[in-house]
Symmetry: D2
Subunit: 254 residues, 4 copies
């Protein structure tokens, strides 16, 4: 898809031995326009990034170490793509303050690198205002502890907000006799149903209905590798986006 460039971008991966990190190491290594210059593990110091001339770092370590790593990189002019979870508004503000002192450096935080998941949520947000009804069915492997999934809950919130912004009425629902739980969980007025089955991985259907028609957006995720196109997109784009960017959808022009 991309032709090898004369000067591939040097990339360092932090947390190179974690599950996401190992995939990222491989993905960067295989990308012809990128060069893996450092695969940093817990035992290594960050100076390796400098020695190797990394222009972009991919932070995939741990909530405890993420902020220190980001600070180090920004202070040394290295752009950072952050996939570590657990950074909230306070951390975002701290990063913005830091970046204000280092104009030209970019940090991109992605709560979800799955391009399919990001598209699903965006499409759900766009469609929400045009349908009388919206519900979500998410289906996962039976080892999952939380129901509904975080993605389903966020999608429901996005739909609820879009409906409110458009001034829509409540969804039609004549249920008067319900066996406890049959109609699912209520997240901001959107019913969410969680299936847990052996054999499944991670799947989500967002269903919209209006008189005489329905629209379904289904996302199936089978493998951690599905996050890598999103990681690579972020690595390629972060250098041209000084300051803090939150969410892959920003890069995708959605």
């Amino acid at each position: 898809m991309s032709s090898p460039s004369a000067n591939p971008v040097g990339v360092g991966v932090l947390g190179a031995r974690g599950r996401m990190g190992a995939e990222a190491v491989r993905a960067v290594d295989e990308a012809p326009d990128l060069e893996l210059v450092a695969a940093v593990t817990r035992e290594d110091g960050l100076d390796g990034l400098l020695d190797a001339g990394a222009r972009v770092a991919v932070e995939l370590t741990h909530p405890d170490s993420a902020m220190d790593n980001i600070r180090f990189c920004v202070q040394h002019g290295i752009h950072v793509v952050v996939g570590t979870s657990g950074l909230g508004p306070a951390e975002h503000d701290a990063i913005r303050a830091l970046l204000a002192e280092h104009p030209g450096v970019g940090v991109l935080i992605a709560p979800n690198f799955g391009i399919g998941a990001v598209l699903s949520m965006k499409f759900a947000e766009i469609a929400a205002r045009y349908f009388d009804s919206a519900e979500i069915v998410e289906l996962h492997h039976p080892r999952k502890a939380d129901a509904p999934s975080g993605t389903a809950a966020r999608t429901a919130q996005v739909i609820g907000q879009a409906r409110a912004d458009a001034g829509l009425d409540d969804m039609p629902d004549a249920t008067t006799k319900e066996l406890d739980g049959a109609r699912g969980a209520d997240v901001d007025g959107v019913h969410v149903h969680s299936v847990r089955m052996a054999g499944l991985v991670a799947h989500q259907e967002v269903l919209f209905g209006a008189d005489g028609e329905s629209l379904t957006i289904r996302h199936d995720s089978y493998d951690r590798r599905s996050f890598m196109p999103g990681v690579l997109l972020a690595v390629r784009e972060v250098g041209s986006r000084p300051g803090l960017t939150v969410g892959l959808d920003e890069l995708m022009g959605l």
Copy 2:
């Protein structure tokens, strides 16, 4: 599918102006091997069946009148196909006693004339013992009062029974943090989820999962006409099945 026969079977429809009845009148009328000899409404007496020489009656009136109609028909040697809901074990016993006095007459009671629905339930029953997990998602128009649907509840019971008979363990489920209702209603150990949406009619998915695979049986019902093939099958077969038959699956050799 069927060639016109020299002597088409004379059929009377009771409740001919109801929604199901009107469809049945049309369906019998269009079947080349059947002849519609009486379309009986509330105002008519049942004697019209005798005058017209009906060999089979289709009872589609009302729980209040069904038993009287069945009794009249059996006593006059007319086979009966019953689609009226609300007949339970007591009524079944009464009909059996009546039929014992009228050998050669057949009565068929079908809780559901939908061939697709009957097949779905049978397939679910067969598959249940082979999978670690089973759940049901049923989706209906938003004017429906009960959740889950009767068909979904019965399907769950059938699955639960088949699992118990096979000595299966509980389904795997590591959910520890659930938003109320997310995991659906529990019917005999089977989770059932009910979606209510504008634009939908009547749909059901039975999902089975085991390590590395899943099997889904989906039934979509768009129209009352979908019950007519089942009605016609029953009309054609009831005459060769003396005594009481409950369920279309018996006729289908399932």
Copy 3:
């Protein structure tokens, strides 16, 4: 959704006895912010629109009469929503020329009033560049003469164009031994599969796949009523959009 306004917009429907026209008459009649002032059939003259004070006309007659009707309306300062098929670039140019002489009048031509269908196509266009593979499965009733459907063919073209614009490689496909037709029809490099079945109405799945994930956009259309929200949206918006607008997606801000 909308509150009755003091001065509802007067709307005339042309082709009021056709299948779409009859639905449009009903939909306008039921909308609290619109007033049905004329239901024009073939026998009526167009002057009735003037007498009734129509501010918007909905043209749903026939390709043969559509241009004359549009001309009449525009010349009399009536905005027009056009659902009649068969108007091509030449007709669009003629309408633009006409509108240039009547500034302030708007004409909106919608090849498809189905909001779900318009969203599906837009989502397909957005997603296309992010996935290695894309195919379409469309499913229709068995009385349909053409395969693939016009909507599926247009969706395939949109996807093919988006892939070309993004510089994507050909889709991966190792098929070397194909039973004739198994891989479907090729529309601009996108494989399209057409299912024709009793019981179905009009359905379409656009499937996208990349390493480890897939995204599916499914649209089910059960009834002509599903076009009415799009018609009403167009009627409400056309007055504030002087000149020619082609496609509902323009109004939807997509």
Copy 4:
């Protein structure tokens, strides 16, 4: 599901280093009622089976060696479960002749160990006679060489045969204007559509339609592990089925 028994059955796996073989080794090893007594590779001789006291052998080597291995086992009174492909009617006859000399020994040949796939095909066979229309959509990863898949072709044949046996008419299809390939491949009168996409594994939908309803049987296979329950079922049952058994459905009572 099964409680550890006092005397677990001794099982030897032939082809223990192949992909299926390695999974079978693991599956037998983990089953409490079975004991893995020999994992035989190409370099080993078969005498190891005898030394280890294997009562059942699982043949997963290669078409070239399968018959020799089966002969050796039967002559030594070891039951055999055969997953190797490529054995046809001639080999079946040879095995029957051999078994006639060794009464009490059982051989089970399974073209497909996937319980979900076996159920899908059986359900398709049962349903076929009750619907006007039937089509198959199968979806696989893009490295697959043949289209349609062998399973889809066999399913279509089974449906075609069931329709012929029931005397059904041709399926309704008014297509007069078809872009080449749009309507799929014709296998015994059943249209089969093959999707090839990055991200997918092995999936199949069998669709049935009649007036007002449709029934869909979908099977998703994500992993070779999905074959292991079928392998274990065969290992447990083969000892009580002297002679040749072909097909897992026999054991499943379908």
